[in-house]
């Protein structure tokens, strides 16, 4: 900044803030990464070693945290004694299925909503968005009763449909913003050249393809991380990873090692996906209200 020469920049206050910010950032980073770190490390620990903590006030004793022999037995027990392979497949099918439905139908609807004006469009929009924002528990009460009468409880199609309640409105809302940014003149030019309307629609798809791909991933993330729908609508036949992880907590015997390993299995893929779509994360998480 040019003004640096003109103004006295390093007042004591500024220096104090610099020092404060370094300390604050360090503390915050430790606080934010520690639970994830503990989860990762504990998943490789034997149960007794995981329970090893120093005496109260013994700050030097923190090193016992690293005092262990790594073992893979919790991961082994997840997949061999606990069927986590199947639960993972369930998670993948439910999340992926709803994401594909949401983005396919969503992009068609978003495109037409972006290109056409009609009476009541605002109301239609509000209905769509409020579906997405309704509390999950509240939505689940009637959905449970309906799905029960259709025999969809405990099935993957039921779960996919349940996830679509939040993913489809999300996709429509977000993708409309994308299509709004594509000028109509591109399609017009295509149509003047003799393309049909559908061909014109297809011709602008490559322009929004990166966004669409990112929001498929985001839809998967939302559905994968869901617990409530899976616990109630999916209970029985369609157990997903978060529910299976929760079920390792039993009143008499909490299998902490296995829980931490299951946590890693559930979290790691989503963290990697999150990094891949990092650019769209803010737009996605704020429903398109904030663009980075």
């Amino acid at each position: 900044m040019a003004s640096r020469d003109v103004v006295q920049y390093k007042s004591p206050l500024v220096v104090a803030f610099k020092i404060f910010s370094v300390i604050f950032l360090t503390v915050y980073l430790i606080w934010t990464l520690l639970p994830i770190f503990v989860m990762f490390v504990s998943s490789f620990k034997d149960l007794l070693e995981a329970f090893n903590i120093p005496e109260v006030g013994d700050w030097a004793g923190v090193t016992v945290f690293f005092d262990f022999t790594p073992t893979l037995k919790h991961y082994h027990s997840l997949f061999y004694d606990n069927n986590f392979g199947e639960y993972m497949a369930n998670s993948l099918i439910a999340a992926g299925g709803s994401a594909v439905i949401a983005v396919t139908f969503g992009s068609m609807a978003a495109y037409s909503l972006s290109r056409v004006e009609f009476r009541g469009k605002g109301d239609l929009f509000f209905w769509i968005i409020s579906t997405r924002m309704a509390p999950v528990v509240a939505v689940m009460v009637p959905l449970y009763a309906i799905f029960r009468s259709f025999d969809l409880i405990g099935t993957l199609p039921g779960l996919i449909l349940a996830y679509t309640t939040f993913n489809l409105p999300f996709a429509i809302w977000i993708l409309k913003g994308f299509f709004d940014n594509v000028p109509y003149s591109i399609e017009e030019a295509q149509m003047v050249d003799g393309a049909t309307r559908f061909q014109a629609f297809m011709s602008i798809l490559p322009l929004v393809a990166p966004g669409i791909a990112a929001f498929i991933v985001l839809c998967i993330l939302f559905a994968w991380n869901d617990f409530l729908f899976a616990a109630i609508i999916g209970s029985g036949g369609a157990k997903t990873l978060p529910v299976a992880t929760r079920e390792l907590v039993q009143p008499q015997n909490i299998q902490w090692g296995a829980i931490m390993a299951a946590g890693v299995v559930t979290t790691l893929p989503m963290m990697l996906l999150g990094l891949v779509i990092r650019k769209y994360l803010v737009t996605g998480m704020t429903m398109g209200a904030v663009k980075e």
């Binding site: 980073l29 996906l273 998480m285």
Partner: protein
């Protein structure tokens, strides 16, 4: 608008006469003098687009109707019935009148308000501070990536990890709190005084990064020339922050507040795993109470009445949020 005459007569049709209108065609043309209207290909303004767009919209609307509109009607019907595991019978407004005498229902609202207020206050202050610190820092990209990691974790899993960390015999955070002298004995989750704070901390841990990300996006749009001009005039950095940066951030922060507020209503996964509403109902925020009534005791009729009150409040909040969203583009950040 059927025959070939339409080509020229577009301008005489006032907007709104037809139910559908292709975007970017007639409205643009109307603005121009009639003499400037060139003949367009008939297809563009024929009735075809309207039907065509409707077809494209239909699948999504049909699915949404089945999973949103239909359940909503069902919810109202159920709230007037006594529904359990079997078929329901009509009870009129009894489910609603009972709510007014239900201490835990009223208490649930109070706790939900407290919970949301505490979460928001902490997230907003810490998140904003972090954004200011991280903005323009040397390792900004890396720092932001590290910060947003908790958001990727399933809330239920986050709850379980924190359950481990809070544990009264081998939890690391329990050890930390005790070593710092903040906690006497007994787990933070087992006391009615601290349990609420415990679930607030988990929410703060997981979602403060979102506020930071939003604030960071806002900070990038604060006009630098204003800041510099103000500095040249001798304003301190602190003064600069309150006079220019904060007012510029206001719209994004408002969005962040609304989003977090509604998510506090939406998600109870972590709290459900951590406390399940206990001890002694001290963390039984309304959605948890609803979960219990509907899916633990399977009183779906009463649950429907509670759900409806929760929905109404969310819809009002949503209406406010959408009003912020739909501001003209120029005002939006």
């Amino acid at each position: 608008m059927t025959s070939g005459v339409t080509n020229v007569s577009v301008a005489q049709v006032p907007p709104g006469t037809s139910l559908f209108r292709a975007r970017g065609t007639s409205s643009d043309i109307e603005a121009r003098p009639i003499t400037a209207v060139l003949p367009l290909p008939v297809r563009l303004n024929s009735a075809a687009p309207r039907r065509y767009y409707l077809y494209l919209m239909a699948p999504a609307i049909a699915v949404l109707a089945f999973i949103s509109l239909y359940p909503f009607v069902w919810l109202i019907v159920m709230s007037l019935q006594d529904v359990g595991v079997g078929a329901g019978e009509w009870v009129g407004l009894k489910n609603y009148t009972r709510l007014f005498n239900d201490v835990r229902f009223l208490e649930g609202w109070v706790l939900l308000a407290q919970y949301s207020a505490m979460c928001l206050a902490l997230q907003l202050s810490i998140g904003l501070l972090l954004a200011v610190i991280v903005n323009g820092a040397r390792w900004e990209k890396f720092l932001v990536t590290a910060l947003l990691m908790p958001m990727m974790m399933a809330p239920a899993v986050a709850g379980l990890v924190w359950l481990f960390l809070y544990n009264g015999t081998f939890g690391w955070y329990h050890w930390l709190f005790q070593s710092l002298g903040w906690l006497d004995s007994g787990s933070i989750l087992s006391s009615t005084d601290t349990a609420m704070l415990a679930i607030v901390l988990v929410d703060v841990w997981q979602w403060t990064p979102l506020i930071t990300l939003i604030a960071l996006a806002g900070l990038k749009r604060v006009p630098q020339d204003q800041l510099e001009a103000n500095m040249v005039d001798g304003a301190s950095p602190l003064r600069n922050f309150f006079a220019i940066t904060l007012p510029n951030l206001y719209p994004v922060l408002l969005i962040a507040i609304m989003l977090r507020f509604m998510d506090n209503f939406r998600f109870i996964d972590a709290a459900l795993v951590l406390t399940g509403g206990g001890p002694a109902d001290s963390t039984k925020i309304l959605p948890i109470y609803l979960f219990e009534v509907a899916f633990k005791f399977f009183k779906l009729g009463r649950g429907a009445a509670i759900a409806l009150t929760l929905l109404v409040v969310t819809i009002i909040l949503g209406k406010l949020l959408v009003r912020i969203f739909e501001k003209p583009k120029s005002e939006r950040v």
